[in-house]
Amino acid sequence: MSWYAALGALEQGLLYGIMVVGVYLTFRVLDFPDLTVDGSLPLGAAVSAVAITHGMHPFGALGLAMAAGFLAGMVTALLNTKLKILHLLASILTMIALYSINIRIMAGPNVSLLGVRTVLDWISDLGLTGYWAAPLLFGLLATGVTALVIWFLHTELGLTVQATGDNLRMITAQGVNTHNIIILGVGLSNALVALSGALVAQNQGAADVNMGVGTIIAGLASVIVGETLFGRGGITRGCMAALVGSIVYRMAIALALGLKWGAFAFTPSDLNLITALLVVGALMTPIVKKRWVRS
């Protein structure tokens, strides 16, 4: 793995890390498996790309993308709580609907952002260019967002969200309207996913309707990789583990991309297989570590 590839993986890990924290929020905190993310990631990208090409400030476009993501999450939660549709199906319905909606928003499948001012230009204006600008900016954003989520989950409202996921009957008995809490939680999660999508689009130079494919897979894999490496001890640790898990996952892909075994090179189509094997390798480390400590 070259230096550039490693920095690139760090950059992508931080970018998608915001999405992973969102997935952690629904999957672990709320206990609500949410597939909306495959649609809300390109939704955030689409909204921010269209907003920027219409002259909006790149940072303002991020806010708009988050609002759109929140609405998408709300739709899933409303389908689940008010119409009693199973959470998995509710989120699948929102996800497939978003495919058409995203094409509507962009008036086509792809909006190019090449040559347009993005959040990255703002930081390069400060004199920082090249490979360091992106990881630095996204590092700041990702840790900031994660810190905010951790803070929120420790407020009274955040504790109610946690309790809703832990013990629905107990919290209902306390007189809490769990429907509103679920709507808030899933909305918040998708707002984070959309923010991540908006940043990905600005970083990659285009929003594309197909960019959401596989988001939930990467999200769940990152959450679990993070948990395995750092343990499942509380919300603070969990949120941070989600972010780190995302970076580890992207590093595995970068490693797979650069893999050469002397004269034997893998063919490009082996990429997904190698990525899977490397993640298995990462997941094995706690077990192996335990064995070594004992012996």
């Binding site: 550039y4 690139g8 993986a9 499948p109 090449l114 130079g205 594309d208 002397g262 090179a265």
Partner: protein, 321 residues
């Protein structure tokens, strides 16, 4: 110690560089997805350079249709520091362009794109005749009048043409608008059937049965990936299926007048050779493929109940029995 040793072994494994001989060119390729047409482009590119005696070492990457991976491949290539970058299909070209913007050490590296319908709308170049910078390439914009001309020779009385495509593909969207414009001029109506994934193709083709005289498939990655489903429905329902790429004729379309993507790749290879010989990419106009080939499939024609005009049989470049 044991841990350290294993760690070092893993590191050396991943860092062993490709063995490069003197005066050979290193070319990094970023392809979006495994797909017969895109694979043919790469093969044509490599074959041309090999035949011309250009010694090239390739680092081929494939994003397996994942945009996030395409972005990572972009940064991966910046680390490989190649002599030339080749991007196949729009999403990967955009990702490479964005990665180049962030890599000051790659400012002078030539960047070729290929199999891209509209390089201007994709934001890759501002002017097709003078791309500027270090970027140029080959566009696969369809000469739609020629395609529709072929369909009209089969069906001079064509009233309704079904078009099967993925509304999520930028290339297809602009193609369909072009077909509609020709339809208004020549007096046929375009009935659209859209899919969002390969598994929708069967159902979408069925939805056209009874409503159209013939079906046309543009160079749509999603539909072409699952062309067999469309062939199956069209065979059952005696509906003529035409395509925009000749590879699809072998797979069961009646006829296509189109690109040979292999030649498309060779044309891109020729541009690469000129760059290696000292040409400035920024001053090389974006090229498009001029010569079209007519391929016919007699078995499919029979199964779909189509009679092929003798004039077309005589002028075909390739006929599958």
């Amino acid at each position: 110690m044991k841990k350290l040793l294993i760690g070092m072994m893993l590191l050396t494994l991943t860092m062993t560089p490709a063995i490069a001989t003197a005066r050979s060119y290193q070319i990094s390729v970023s392809q979006f997805v495994e797909h017969p047409a895109l694979d043919a482009v790469l093969k044509g590119f490599q074959d041309y350079l090999a035949e011309e005696g250009v010694d090239a070492v390739y680092n081929v990457h494939n994003a397996q249709a994942n945009m996030a991976t395409a972005g990572q491949i972009g940064t991966q290539i910046m680390g490989e520091k190649p002599d030339l970058i080749l991007a196949i299909a729009t999403p990967t070209a955009q990702a490479v362009a964005q990665a180049l913007k962030k890599a000051p050490h790659m400012k002078t590296t030539p960047f070729l794109f290929t199999a891209i319908t509209d390089p201007v709308e994709a934001g890759l170049v501002k002017d097709l005749h003078r791309p500027g910078g270090n970027i140029t390439g080959v566009s696969d914009l369809l000469p739609l009048d020629k395609h529709m001309g072929m369909v009209l020779r089969f069906y001079p009385e064509l009233k309704k043409l079904g078009v099967l495509y993925n509304a999520g593909e930028a290339n297809s969207k602009s193609t369909v608008q072009g077909i509609q414009a020709i339809g208004r001029e020549k007096g046929f109506e375009v009935i659209e059937a859209t899919v969002s994934k390969s598994s929708d193709v069967y159902q979408a083709t069925k939805s056209l049965v009874g409503r159209v005289d013939a079906v046309f498939v543009p160079t749509d990655n999603t539909v072409v990936s699952a062309l067999e489903s469309a062939v199956k429905v069209c065979t059952q329902m005696q509906l003529a299926l035409f395509c925009a790429d000749v590879d699809s004729v072998k797979r069961g379309a009646v006829a296509a007048m189109g690109f040979d993507y292999y030649k498309h790749g060779r044309q891109t290879g020729a541009m690469a050779k000129r760059i290696f010989n000292g040409a400035n990419p920024g001053e090389m106009p974006v090229e498009s493929q001029q010569e079209l080939e007519l391929h016919l499939n007699l078995t499919s024609a029979k199964q779909m109940g189509v009679t092929i005009p003798q004039a077309l049989l005589d002028s075909a470049d390739k006929i599958y029995e």
